[in-house]
Point group: C2
Chain length 108, copies 2
Amino acid sequence: MLKGHLDAIVLAALETGPAHGYAIIETIKQRSAGTFDLPEGTVYPALHRLEQAGLLSSAWTTPPNGRRRRVYSLTKAGSSALGERRKAWGRFSQAVDTVLGGGRAWPA
Amino acid sequence: MLKGHLDAIVLAALETGPAHGYAIIETIKQRSAGTFDLPEGTVYPALHRLEQAGLLSSAWTTPPNGRRRRVYSLTKAGSSALGERRKAWGRFSQAVDTVLGGGRAWPA
DNA sequence: CCGTATACCTAGTTATGCTAGGTATGGAAG
DNA sequence: CTTCCATACCTAGCATAACTAGGTATACGG
């Protein structure tokens, strides 16, 4: 479970440029060193949600010698949403660190 | 939303000693500097779940000049579960940091 | 030509946290 | 003394999120 941070992760995967769903899954898997091996049933609905919310835009591409692909790009709203999500993640993870540590640092 | 990390947080709040539900809520609020101000409808069911799972044990106390309180303690299983949750959190937050950073560090 | 990897999709299940209520008591304020 | 607030517990039902488990179709290698 990605526990509500999936959106941020997907948006971050698109920050370096447009990509299609399957590639996004690969990017996330590689960047997380295999920790986040997301099933398609998780990612595709998320992409649709994010597009619905105006954070992504999509276009079909049909390269001459390739399969049809739906390529997603960050919209301006998506970029700024990513910024907010990052901040929210920072606050959240900081707070969890503190609470889990009982107020003091704990070894990783 | 605490996104699946509520159990770890509650367990951690009980690590320093037994406490009752209301006090647990206060502890979490203080430790997180107000970030996690959990509604009772979140915490009480969680406590019941954790007891059901054998990670907590509870007993009613009725102090001479106080209200009735249900005091929860970490069981041995609860302690070890907390250890695992901490490790899981470490891995998870590390992975999210990496993915959100696009492979590089990003400023807090 | 057949299997595997690529590439997309969705209906339905499950879990989880929260909303919104309810009950009851102790202590402070008026 | 009575009224109100903080303490203290509880649950039913809602919303959402991610996942399971299916389905479709095409390119490419053996």
